[in-house]
Amino acid sequence: MLKWRLLVSFVSLAFASSLLAPSPSPAQATTITIATVNNPDMIIMQKLTPAFEQQNPNIKVSWVVLPENELRQKVTTDISTNAGSYDVMTIGMYEVLSGWAKNGWLLPFDSLPSAYDGQDLLKPVRAGLSYKGTLYAVPFYAESSMTYYRKDLFAAKGLTMPQRPTWTQVEAFAKAIHNPSKRTYGICLRGLPGWGENMAFLTTLVNTFGGRWFDEKWQPQLTSPEWKQAVGFYVNLMRNYGPPGVTSNGFTENETLLANGNCAMWVDATVAAGYLANPQTSKVAKNVGFAYAPVAVTRNGSHWLWAWALGIPKSTKKADAARAFIYWATSKAYINMVGEKEGWTSVPPGTRYSTYQNSAYIKAAPFATLVEALINEADPTHPTAKPVPYVGVQFAAIPEFQGIGTQTGQAIAGALAGKMTIDQALQQAQSNAENVMRQAGYIK
């Protein structure tokens, strides 16, 4: 019945958009439609659009801004059915690597203009958006994951956070600082189920404990000792030293908790650094410290690599205008403009070497050099100690992963909430993953 509703809304939407389609004006202005995520960096891009329209008087930009999950659903259904509603799509590394490029859905960026300086793009980020050596989407911002901690709370207990902490140390710190009666919790981590929510973090944890999603023959490995150890560690840590309600906390919820002063530590996306270090959005701006993501057995895959990028679907009829916009929004000039207009902590991070050579940025953003090092160190082709058949640190770049990852995330959230044991949860996730992989023909 949900399906009916969806179909009905699709039909009515299609009808409405055909009515609203602009007729070509005498000046031959082209309107491009851009789908993007409602992250702060993209909101700034939307805000600065008039600058682009002034430089390109014959291009008009119309925006579709959505939360991550809805955006992913819209653009995926659009591109796979060749519907052509968008001229520019905001997509992630996962989309490019899991088949969008291979399926021929995206126009390649094979000849970047020299003024654009493609060599300035960070190598791991560029590689993560390329298929067989060709770039299929241009990075808008990139991130890794790292440890945030409260310098004041650590100092009060006489503790120091090493530059490269281990998970054992993190557990000890959490135990020392955890004080629920004062609403100070030892550590905040993601618990909200979803392949891009709790599983993004948990995959890095499993990686560093030496686990992997699939072995070389695509056999799911979710009941392996490494998974049990990592998930057991996570569940204990969150039950003993976490805030209440972990299973509802995703990236945004944890960011709010830390900015409100409720968490002593948090391991999550580097992109939160700008928000946490900004006194206007964070109560703890002065006291927030930054360190590498914690490590257990292996350094491989202990912190993730992600980029939001702009790509052009092959269904577009306005590829030139779309390209013009993308070159503008990911250029050095754009980054400088954001720095000058919005403040240097707000520039889109992780895309260009030149950003990290800019003294104004390095001065304003104490986390900048660490973020650059983290991104450069992340290696999606070696996400853990053992060899894997897939690419990706916090995901496995195959189309089936979204479903497998989310169901595994639900099972682990169930274990965290005490609805089932860790063994039961992993067993359930394993049999689901085996079913999906069998149905898709990877294993027999």
Binding site: P193, S248, G414
Partner: protein, 304 residues
């Protein structure tokens, strides 16, 4: 069911008169486009291997999608959860709705203001309702309930993780009780005063009045409520999506949410369509059972 006279009415209706076709035509057309076409498409996709993201290995697979669905323990959990959710919310909304309707049927100052306020939750959008409950009431750090618990010296409870199904039931009941109240209140106001007078003269007490006059009078609106709300509750989605995402574990994964996961997370249109067909079958089974039960209980002993 023989009492229902619609059948006889239809027989008298002459389809061969050109005027009649002209008038019925648009309705049939709309019904066809809005119902049969999507249903037929769902049926078509449900027998195909069709994952939006995978270009290879597409095509006719017979009943494979159905077989995999029936073998999937998640699917059965979802079916059970759906039924539990529907039954609990029905009980809560109709129970509370009856109490509220009886209260608001009395005369008191500011009656109209109070009625409007009592009905207003129904006009809040489902997602807004869900987020409000999640962040302002249930939240174990910032929520009102946590504050109350802590002020009384207790430990805050993480409602959505500890009692996920009951929390979702509470949210949906809060949203839908006004609807039940509204229907039952209008029904109460149509209760003839002389009937009540008559039983009082016959010596019935408050309870007798309620048991032998009010309840029988309300049986029809209650049965209508049961039908309508069952149909609405079988498709409840937004409240679950915005609060628990079907979790923790599978605690609140209902059939619509399960279909959503298949269709818009795995982009597996084949399996999702098979699930949708099951949802249609389930809705029909429930509707038939309800109709039977209602007609047996209500129309029994009435005048022929």
């Amino acid at each position: 069911m023989t009492r229902v006279s619609a059948g006889r009415g239809l027989a008298r209706f002459d389809i061969h008169r050109p005027n009649a076709l002209l008038f019925v035509g648009p309705a049939v057309l709309v019904l066809f486009v809005w119902m049969i076409v999507p249903l037929a498409l769902s049926l078509y996709y449900s027998v195909r291997r069709y994952n939006l993201l995978v270009l290879e290995r597409r095509g006719f697979v017979g009943l494979l999608n159905y077989r995999l669905l029936l073998l999937d323990p998640t699917f059965w959990t979802a079916v059970v959860n759906t039924l539990v959710l529907v039954v609990l919310v029905l009980a809560a909304t109709i129970g509370l709705g009856l109490i509220l309707a009886l209260l608001f049927n009395r005369d008191f100052t500011a009656k109209n203001v109070a009625r409007t306020l009592a009905i207003s939750p129904f006009f809040v959008m489902p997602v807004v309702t869900a987020l409000m409950w999640k962040n302002m009431l249930f939240h174990p750090v910032f929520g009102l309930l946590a504050w109350v618990a802590q002020s009384l010296g207790g430990e805050p409870i993480d409602w959505l993780a500890t009692y996920p199904m009951l929390s979702v039931v509470a949210i949906i009941s809060w949203e839908w009780t006004p609807f039940a109240t509204l229907i039952l209140l209008t029904a109460l106001q149509s209760l003839p005063g002389d009937l009540l007078e008559a039983v009082r003269i016959d010596g019935a007490g408050r309870w007798g009045e309620f048991r032998y006059i009010v309840i029988p009078h309300l049986l029809r609106p209650i049965s209508a409520l049961l039908m309508l709300q069952t149909i609405f509750f079988l498709t409840i989605f937004a409240e679950i999506y915005a609060t628990t995402s079907g979790g923790p574990g599978l605690a609140t994964t209902t059939l619509p949410y399960f279909i959503y996961l298949k269709a818009l997370l795995q982009f597996d249109i084949g399996s999702a369509s098979a699930g949708a067909i099951f949802a249609v079958i389930l809705a029909n089974v429930v509707a038939v059972f309800l109709l039977r039960a209602i007609s047996r209980n209500i129309f029994q002993g009435e005048l022929p």
